[in-house]
Amino acid sequence: MSFIQTLKYKIGLSKDGLTKRKTVTFGDTTAVGNGRFWSVISVITLSMAWYLGSALELVNPIFWPAPSAVWDQFINISQDGYRNFTLWEHIWASLYRILVGFALGCLIGIPLGFAMGLSEIIRGWFDPLVEFFRPIPPLAFIPLVIIWSGIGERSKILLLFFAALWIMVIAARAGVGSVKLSKIHAAYSLGATKRQILMHVILPNSLPEIFTGMRVAMGICWGTVVAAELVAAESGIGFMIMAASKFLATDIVILGVIVVGVIGYSIDILMRKLEDKLIPWKGKA
């Protein structure tokens, strides 16, 4: 294969030898490449459109500022801060809230989900609660938590705990339900006690479901914290966006939105990498 051929294959412009010979490709998802080449083109085109649109002054900068203005604000807020905090402090304020809220949600939610999976009484007792709270968007509780705990850290952490809790309960419960009876029987026949079965069979067996729940919960928590800060806060990336919007500082708003997107994406990638590392057997049993 020539150098050009190999290059074309690497950037996704050419298919491998067998795929090339396939006559049925529409509907055969293995014959659809990742299209990395087109991703690059797409990002370049959109960036160019943004740059040119601003340079030619096609849009009022109050509605859509130039990339350079957003970049300047990035440098500026990173160093000098906005509303008493630097960009990094705003980011950390938001991250801290989700980490604490998420951790509490896991701490209560996972054991509760396990108990619901293993005991009829606990399942019956908590089922109405879980089914009722699960479909309510966490943001609907913002007014309530503000009445309870004001606009400080406590109300946000309470909200995020609530957001993560039901997801983790359901994930842990599904994890317990996924354990094959033959594994449990095998463990009993190997002399394991109930406690050992819980710790050495049910718990590891449910890790894939729990991890999927964690990924979902992290995503929801990130969305919720930003939205909660938009409503009421004194720091955080959502607060930064809201404060800037009141002064029509659109460049800061756009900067905030980009930061939210980048961090949300990074969290998901990080969780996926952790999953590959910690649960290599996922989907292989």
């Binding site: 594994k183 463990a187 190997l190 590891p204 290599p280 292989k284």
Partner: protein, 269 residues
């Protein structure tokens, strides 16, 4: 001696629709230590129920099961189980799977390691201790399941269609391994299978069970397992006597199947 005595065991249960199912009716037999029993029968004949009762996962509605003169009331490490597939712990390595029972008992690590290494050798997996179970083929996974069971040194090994998910060639190889382990360890083995040939080849004794109610219809004492230890398995299976027995049992099972179908027709199903 650790004899297994199944004494007048019946299993009757009610379905939600109010019907009574006689999964087992007055089943009695005893196995001396070191006997290899295979059980055949059409689906619904209660062979899995019987195995689950002996394992201690089900309590019979009538009768008792005793191992070494002690009545069985629940699962225990004196009766090891080998399942068809999917009973290995995929979060543990091959070696950790084999050592699971011992480590649950709190056996010292170096002792576990010695036993595990010996068993890896016995089942022909000496280089695979550190592998993940999902990296192994189906046949190798069943070797691990056998080794995991043996590590606990149970009196009885209960096998629920252990080779049922394997391809024909692997299955023949594994039959040889089961015979070899049986001879080397002197364990009592009860093996459930759907394959008439496998039941004939591996069973020193063979029960053909019948459904509605679940019962032992016919019992055989067979020379083939013993012969398989010294002779080529292919020669044993080519023996005219082997072929005649196979036809006889196949006919018996076909008749039962047809009877079940007939009953289903009568009831308009």
């Amino acid at each position: 001696m650790s004899d297994l005595v199944v004494n007048d065991v019946s299993m009757v249960f009610d379905t939600p629709s109010g019907e009574q199912v006689h999964a087992l009716e007055n089943v009695s037999f005893s196995l001396k230590q070191g006997e290899l029993l295979s059980i055949l029968g059409p689906s619904g004949c209660g062979k899995s129920t019987l195995l689950n009762i002996i394992a201690g996962f089900l309590a019979p509605t009538h009768g008792t099961v005793e191992l070494a003169s002690t009545e069985i009331h629940g699962p225990g490490s004196d009766r090891g189980m080998v399942f068809q597939q999917g009973a290995l712990f995929e979060w543990l390595t091959v070696a950790e799977n084999i050592g699971f029972g011992l480590s649950m008992k709190g056996t010292p690590a170096d002792e576990i390691k010695k036993t595990v290494n010996h068993l890896l050798e016995t089942v022909g997996l000496h280089d695979f201790g550190d592998k993940a179970t999902y990296e192994l083929s189906g046949g190798m996974q069943q070797r691990v399941a056998l080794a995991r069971c043996l590590a606990n040194d149970p009196d009885v090994i209960l096998m629920d269609e252990p080779l049922g998910a394997l391809d024909a060639l692997t299955r023949e190889k594994m039959q040889g391994l089961v015979l070899k382990l049986w001879k080397e360890t002197g364990k009592t083995i009860i093996l459930i299978t759907h394959s008439v040939e496998e039941a004939l080849f591996l069973g020193e004794r063979l029960f053909v069970m019948a459904p509605r109610p679940g019962r032992i219809k016919k019992e055989y004492s067979l020379p083939f397992a013993e012969a398989g230890l010294t002779k080529d398995p292919r020669d044993v299976k080519a023996d005219p006597d082997f072929g005649a027995k196979r036809e006889e049992i196949l006919n018996m099972i076909w008749e039962m199947e047809e009877e079940i179908m007939g009953q289903a027709d009568d009831s308009g199903v």
